[in-house]
């Protein structure tokens, strides 16, 4: 963890020399239950700079921004903005000090006009009416200041994601924001849109605004950052001027040198008869003309930007979203009600609200989709059989717990994810659909989970993997299908791809 301590010390002394800082966070520690999200982290943003905060999922970067924004209270440590320590921890105080956050979902109102969105301020009394003309004028000024060519009268919902992002920035600027925290602003943008966003950020930086930019796309980080801070497992790993960091170095610091790049070595050959055959699948709002086949023992990946329709395709194959057109055949027969079909299993990406019954025991969670396997001849569910099944899977997937009767909420993220995988694999399905199987999972667990997937595939299960992480797709998939704006734009074999080409295909959106 302290492998980079020399650079760390040098870095922070450099930062402190740069005049009054926009934000200084000192000794921030935050725990959620037994989980330490941040451990004594120092973080400084110089005025008029872009400070990139990088780290893997679950490294604590979102928690740190939430603390600076006053959304979460730290357990210990102080945050000061422009030299003044924030006395009370709440979003209002932070806003008064000029701190603005642009969240991933942007928090805009899709049914209001651009102007209304720009001038909306949550801290204004609802009783004071907003004049429409004034609003338009103010919005026009804000948009002009960013050199944006968007009509303030447009309904926000009609704009592209990238334009909405820029409107969100215009809002923060028009409300006198001085420090703008952006949480993964480029996750759903194409490379051209990213360029436009980065230009805007650059212009505002020159006007003296400060940015905290969360991202794990290393190319952006090295191109836009003035300073870089790397977090890993809640620890400050390294901080300093961007010039000191190459993409390779950041990647190594983020992962602790444990960059996992094993590819699948012995994938099964494609059999003539596919396990799942998707033909012409379409749903008006999300995806069109989706064709692909899944084969016994092979892992198919769906790659694409956030919001490209990948997740909806997975949900639709799993029977959780009804497609309007097309067929899904399982072993050659068309299956309409796929939700009731236990040959298929789905693992959602949000463990806490979609995946697990948090109050339930580990055992009850594992058995949820395999009740047929734990009934006695009389047809009643047998608690002892549930226990045996859960113990079996605990040892197979190495779930770290002394007892499967403990609540699943007592486990760490990685172990919770193992429980979800066990639940999906217990009924010995032919097909498993995984949505971001290692979100918020520590590095060791991630490698283990990848092994679980590879092993299950070796035993004949067909997998469909949806992931935001290029490295993950390359590590477990045999074939890749690229989705852009709901359509398939490319198909590649994973062997032939480097991570760079993969990212290029995703973010070019098919236009090379």
């Amino acid at each position: 963890m302290t492998s980079d301590s020399s650079a760390n010390a040098a870095g922070s002394s450099v930062l402190e020399a740069g005049g009054p800082s926009a934000v200084i966070a000192q000794g921030i520690t935050k725990t959620y239950g037994e989980v330490t999200a941040l451990d004594n982290v120092d973080f400084t943003v110089r005025p008029g700079t872009v400070h990139c905060l990088v780290g893997e999922n679950g490294s604590g970067k979102s928690t740190l921004t939430k603390i600076i924004a006053g959304v979460e209270a730290q357990d210990s440590g102080t945050v000061s903005v422009e030299g003044r320590v924030l006395s009370s921890i709440d979003p209002r105080t932070a806003i008064q000090h000029g701190v603005r956050v642009i969240y991933q979902d942007l928090a805009l109102f899709p049914n209001m006009s651009v102007a209304e969105n720009v001038v909306f301020q949550g801290n204004r009394s609802v009783l004071i009416p907003v004049s429409n003309r004034k609003a338009r004028k103010k919005a026009s000024e804000a948009l002009a200041a960013l050199d944006l060519n968007i009509d303030p009268g447009t309904r926000l919902g009609d704009l592209s994601t990238a334009e909405r992002q820029l409107v969100a920035i215009a809002r923060t600027v028009s409300s006198d924001g001085k420090i703008i925290l952006m949480d993964e602003p480029t996750a759903s943008l194409t490379s051209r849109e990213i360029d436009q966003l980065l230009e805007t950020v650059d212009r505002l930086r020159q006007q003296g605004l400060s940015f905290v930019f969360i991202s794990h796309k290393l190319r952006e980080v090295t191109s836009v950052a003035d300073d870089v801070t790397v977090l890993r497992d809640g620890q400050l790993i390294s901080t300093g001027r961007a010039g000191e960091y190459s993409q390779e170095r950041i990647a190594e610091l983020m992962t602790g040198g444990l960059v996992e790049n094993n590819r699948r070595e012995t994938p099964a050959q494609e059999e003539s008869e596919p396990v799942v055959e998707v033909r012409g699948l379409g749903l008006a709002s999300s995806f069109h003309d989706i064709d692909f086949s899944m084969h016994r023992g092979r892992v198919l990946g769906l790659a694409g930007l956030v919001g490209s329709g990948r997740i909806e395709i997975g949900l639709s194959v799993a029977g959780l979203v009804r497609a309007e057109r097309g067929t899904v055949r399982i072993h050659g027969e068309s299956v309409e009600n796929r939700r009731a079909d236990n040959r298929l299993q789905y693992v959602p990406d949000d463990r806490l609200t979609e995946g697990l019954f948090l109050d339930w025991s580990i055992a009850d969670n594992i058995v949820t989709n395999h009740l047929d396997g734990v009934v006695t001849p009389r047809g009643t569910v047998s608690p002892s059989k549930i226990g045996e099944l859960a113990d079996d899977w605990r040892s197979k997937l190495r779930v770290k717990t002394p007892d499967v009767s403990h609540p699943v909420s007592s486990l760490s993220g990685g172990n919770q994810q193992r429980v979800l995988l066990a639940r999906a694999l217990a009924p010995e399905p032919d097909v498993v659909i995984l949505n971001n199987p290692t979100v918020g999972v520590d590095i060791g667990s991630r490698a283990d989970i990848h092994d679980v997937v590879r092993n299950a595939a070796d035993e004949g299960t067909a997998f469909l993997v949806i992931s935001d992480e290029p490295a993950e797709l390359l590590s477990i998939c045999d074939d890749l299908v690229f989705i852009h704006e709901g359509r398939i734009i490319d198909r590649r074999s994973a062997d032939s791809l480097s991570e760079e080409t993969l990212i290029d295909i995703i973010s070019e959106g098919g236009r090379s």
Partner: protein
């Protein structure tokens, strides 16, 4: 499993409450309360209310509620009265009553399926939906009867007032239904899914459980049991009217809450409705004994039930929180003893 059933202490507390009430009331009225006659009399009154409370606790278990139960019970009773009276000339009293029973139960099942279908398809909260169907069922029953009381053939009397070895038949019926439901909810695959839907219908959906099917079946079961309650009510008085038992809905909810079944779903034991009914019946008898000659007695009773409902709800919520905290602490300390580090990462 333990997380689903709720704490053991609650069972003990409920037993203690029942015993305590009996002791206190016996001390207050030593000559009338602890007598076999009084105990049997109380037992004979428990069935309709207990059955209705079962409906509420079943729907509680899946995170819903069925407010239409009293309306369904009355509609079922009216169906039984009208069909048996109409068929008496051709089939004779016993045969006609048998058809009446079938008609009553059919009304319950149909009403339940309507409730379940609406709840699962409209995805609106079950409170407004079952409030709506309550008005609907009452409206239909009023239309059919013109609001007049319907009388039966009188051949179901044994169900209302009969005894087997001194125990009221209706009470035995109630106990059988409770036991059957206890087995269904805790021992079957369907029961497991009921707890799952109650714990989180979102998680259940993502786990690809057929949430709608579970909802329809649960409300159907609720309607079915409500119609059994209607049958017991009808058998006792040989009369049925849309306005009978109007104050029983709040009592049924109170008993369901007292039984420890979480109104938010996914937790509790249906079996404990048995204890909760015994407790409530004693409270009711106690109030009647104390205030029997006062004009405002029924008023005071309703007031007491309202206060109790809120108090028990609040207490349950508190207990639940403390329980969860303890459970978490326990598993943490065990993990520490095992010397296993918690690798962890919040999102």
């Amino acid at each position: 499993m333990e997380a689903r059933l709720g704490s053991r202490q609650y069972v003990i507390a409920l037993i203690a409450l029942v015993v305590l009430l009996f002791v206190i009331l016996s001390i207050l009225a030593p000559s009338t309360y602890p007598t076999l006659r009084n105990v049997l009399s109380m037992a004979s009154q428990m069935a309709p209310l207990g059955l209705l409370a079962l409906c509420v606790s079943l729907t509680f278990l899946i995170g819903g509620i069925d407010l239409s139960i009293v309306a369904v019970a009355n509609a079922g009773a009216i169906a039984a009265a009208m069909t048996s009276t109409a068929l008496e000339p051709s089939l004779g009293a016993p045969g006609a009553s048998l058809v009446g029973v079938a008609a009553c139960l059919a009304v319950g099942v149909i009403a339940g399926v309507i409730n379940g279908t609406l709840v699962s398809q409209l995805r609106v909260h079950p409170i407004p939906i079952t409030l709506g169907t309550m008005a609907l069922f009452t409206g239909i029953a009023t239309g059919v009867t013109g609001g007049a009381t319907q009388f039966g053939t009188g051949s179901l009397g044994f169900l209302g007032s009969g005894t087997i070895a001194m125990v009221p038949v209706s009470f035995l019926l109630f106990v059988i239904v409770v036991l059957a439901l206890a087995i269904i909810t805790t021992k079957t695959r369907f029961g497991f899914k009921m707890y799952a839907v109650g714990a989180s219908d979102k998680v259940s959906r993502f786990a690809r459980l057929e949430v709608e099917k579970v909802q329809v079946r649960t409300y159907m079961l609720s309607g079915f049991i409500a119609s059994i309650a209607g049958l017991v009510m009808f058998a006792g008085s040989n009369a049925a009217n849309v306005s009978f038992g109007s104050s029983w809905l709040i009592l049924a909810i109170l008993i369901a809450v007292l039984s420890g079944v979480d109104p938010y779903g996914g937790k509790g034991r249906v079996l404990l409705v048995l204890l909760a009914v015994v407790g409530m019946q004693q409270v009711q008898t106690g109030i009647n004994m104390a205030l029997g000659r006062w004009d405002g007695a029924s008023f005071a009773a309703e007031f007491t039930f309202g206060v109790l409902l809120i108090a028990v709800l609040g207490l349950n919520r508190r207990l639940g929180k403390a329980e969860r905290r303890k459970l978490r602490k326990k598993s943490k300390s065990e993990e520490i003893q095992q010397g296993e580090p918690t690798l962890a990462t919040p999102a």
